[in-house]
Assembly symmetry: C2
Homo-oligomer: 279 residues x 2
């Protein structure tokens, strides 16, 4: 009997500069597997709601304490479910405590700066839980696939990212990065359903089909990127995401474990308030 899968089985091995690139392969992860699903939709839904309530509670402490910062990075191919994850997992979390930052194609002003400029500006403040919907990793993936980023420039950017994330972590930011891993077949179905429903056309651009044609190049760029940017202070997890419910539960469990690990609590009572009566 194979052992019960654990969250850390899906963590990309930490980058080790002495072992060039490591043995990590995306092919080791079947996008269709559902290791953190109970097998029953109803049970999964109940678990997700339970996770939501706990996340809400932990987020309030994070906010009250105003010490730690938490950053969740979501990456994945088109239709992999970044928006859906945010909607499903953070449904129960107080909107006051969440900040969601979507990164689109850079504007001319953003392009006129270094690639981390716009990202740094959106880093979470003390007490904040911030979600990056796409991120600085797009600046590795897209130009790599387009052939605009040569190997040494790629290495250099990865190095800058590691150092940037280490600085954030040293300054009190807990970073969790999730790659939503879907199969090419699943993407076809999801894209097709957007095309077939006129009310979903706004989510669709013909350029999305161009990116799909480069599926293998993207998978390879993801593999190379994850291998050299998964670190102890900013680990990458591969999330099998063909099942939306599994994806939601797994990301919820990961974030819950991360927040629980922070030992968040309300700040100590203020002595100055003892016995105060409001007139």
């Amino acid at each position: 009997m194979s052992k019960q899968p654990e969250l850390d089985d899906f963590r990309v091995p930490y980058f080790d500069s002495s072992k060039k690139n490591g043995k990590f392969s995306l092919d080791d992860f079947d996008p269709g597997m559902k290791p953190f699903s109970s097998g029953s939709k109803e049970t999964d839904r109940a678990r997700l709601s339970e996770i939501g309530t706990q996340l809400d509670n932990l987020q309030e402490r994070l906010h009250a304490q105003k010490q730690r910062r938490v950053l969740l990075v979501l990456q994945g191919m088109d239709t992999s479910g970044k928006d859906g994850t945010i909607r499903a997992v953070f449904h129960e979390v107080d909107p006051l405590g969440l900040r969601i930052v979507p990164f689109k194609a850079p504007t001319p002003v953003e392009l006129a700066h270094d690639f981390l400029w716009r990202v740094h500006a959106q880093a979470p403040a003390a007490g904040e839980l911030t979600i990056f919907n796409r991120s600085h990793y797009e600046d590795l993936l897209v130009p790599t696939v387009l052939g605009e980023l040569k190997a040494d420039a790629f290495e250099q950017r990865c190095c800058h990212i590691r150092e940037f994330e280490e600085m954030l972590a040293d300054s009190g930011t807990t970073i969790l990065k999730c790659m939503l891993h879907i199969s090419k077949d699943e993407q076809r179905e999801r894209l097709q359903s957007r095309i077939d429903d006129p009310n979903k056309h706004w989510k669709f651009d013909l350029a999305d089909l161009e990116a799909r044609k480069q599926w293998d190049a993207y998978q390879s760029a993801y593999r190379d990127t994850l291998a050299v940017t998964s670190t102890e202070y900013a680990p990458w997890y591969v999330i099998p995401a063909d099942s939306k419910m599994h994806r939601n539960v797994m990301i919820g469990e990961l974030l819950l474990r991360t927040l629980e690990g922070l030992k968040l609590d309300y700040p100590p009572a203020k002595e100055s308030l003892r016995g105060v009566k409001v007139e």
Copy 2:
């Protein structure tokens, strides 16, 4: 028999420069009244959930259409329930479609600019629903109570605010402003409960009691401010808010009516996608 109250009975009369200050008085609104409550907590809760679902649906269209911008301004004394409103009314709205901007005491950099500088930077973009948790109105209320803003400077700021809001409205922003109206007794109870619960101390500062001592001055400043800044393009509503449930339902109804009035719909189907099959 008195007629069924309507939302617009709680709208502050539009500013009319020919009628100096108008006849509007906050005393005409009893903070304890619950005109939009059904009388049953259960029915109110169900209605609030229904409103939430509809707001979520409308917000998706707003986002898909990317034409209109919506700004909800929440103002009120300490403990009047700004945070609670956001949590309760927007619970069902996709966190992706909301942006919440808390305005605290201005930083030195913000103070080095005009008072609308930091506010303008946070105005909603096309397709966005943005909530200001406090706002540029603090820059009228606080200095007025502290005696730092003379009558002509007050008039001038109000004029700047009207012109600023008109410019936002002319650029496609729908503005709705709510003053959460609580009684002095209700505030005492809420402040006291924060003092009595050590886990709520982080929400409390002894300075809050100083502001309470100037209750009448604040009520008067609110009255003067609302009277000259309620306009057709950015109306103020007084929300009786001693009952949290009533406050939530009423603000929900107001926002629902506002969004419904925008005739939001999905953008037209893209002809270019007709019959496209994903490979």
